[in-house]
Amino acid sequence: MANLSISTICSLNCPYCFTADYLDDVPDGRRFMPLDEFDARLDFLDRSGIDEARLLGGEPTLHPDFPALVARALDRDKRIVVFSNGLMPNASLNSLADAPADRCFVLMNINAPADNGSAVITRQIEALRRLGERAMPGFNIYRPDFDLGFLLDLIEQTDCKPSIRLGIAQPCLSGDNRYIHPKQYRFIGQQIAAFTPIAAARGVTLEFDCGFVRCMFTDQEIQTLHDANANVGWRCNPILDVDVYGQVIQCYPLSRLGSLPLTPDIDAPALRKTFEARTGAYRHAGIYPECAICPFKASGECSGGCLAATIRRFRHSPFELVFRQESAP
């Protein structure tokens, strides 16, 4: 998979946004990917064997040519996946609502109503209602006191896909965004496990984004998740992000590890291989010291959490030691 970033601007300012480092570092000037570069991006997906055009930003639907981008991707037989905050211009919303339902999916990131206010949630509900089965809500947990109950009401009101995509806010390498510290994961896990049967009773399933770890749940809680058909996983699979300038990043939180240019001949597996050579050594660790002796980490069942969170554990110690060496007179 690879994400195509088509916008650097957003209509919200979520404190946990994992593009914080990238947006701090990216040169000013290009807010949107130029329309005439989109075909080259689609060529990249083609030669990489990727049949999804995953559009993100910033807020991708703010791109002034968004409907044209959607049309071009559909013409190239791509399935459209959009990562949006739901505050879409009408033309963008119409282009998605008119797309074939089996070739269009919108993951709408929704914060708690208290965080963004009623005007924002009202527009998000309208967008979900228009998109129906093409869309589902996503929720990023960025503080320990979260309540997912409002999403169940929202799903019932809008007839969108009855699922909630849960993410745990992860740090950028700088740590300048808001994120959940791994010490809080167990508490978060208890709350998710308690919510899962409540959601299931209302016909709603949970899906986990990357960065969850197995040990944030007990075996019994994991059974509860499975019983409720939750789509659980303990993975960290950085998905390539192609920015508006045509630079490829391993994953936004890792943007400070550098980028590679999207040249006309390179494909996603080659880019991924280069990035993995840079960061593979860090994979031997995890977000906890105990990951070193964890059988689930050793077997690969659990990745040991987010790579960015893992790399943030590492530090340089600039020690210097003076000692005496005996030498010949």
Binding site: R278, A281, E290, A292, F314, H316, F319, E320, F323, Q325
Partner: protein, 96 residues
């Protein structure tokens, strides 16, 4: 005659303390070292800024060795790490 030698942490090395080990990564090359037992302990104490005599004293206590034995072990460890590129020579100055 003895020579005061200095070693310092190689600039690209970052590390983390895990259960039972110290994991070192060269951020430039992607090379990896997993230090165990006495090596991990030595690295951790070095990173805490211990001076040589204090380091020997502390390691002698923790490894239940004499200070002479510990000093020999430490010199051998530093030589191995220097050969591996984990630490670098930081300039010599001769003493009589």
């Amino acid at each position: 005659m003895s020579t005061a030698a200095r070693v310092r942490c190689a600039p690209g090395i970052v590390w983390v303390k895990d259960t039972g080990r110290a994991l070192l990564v060269d951020g430039e090359t992607g090379r990896l070292w997993a230090l165990q037992d006495a090596d991990a302990l030595t690295w951790e104490l070095l990173s805490m800024g211990y001076k040589y005599t204090d380091l020997v004293r502390m390691l002698a206590l923790l490894l239940t060795l004499s200070e002479d034995e510990t000093s020999a072990v430490l010199d051998d460890t530093l030589a191995r790490w220097q050969a591996a590129g984990i630490v670098l020579a930081a300039g010599d100055s001769a003493h009589g």
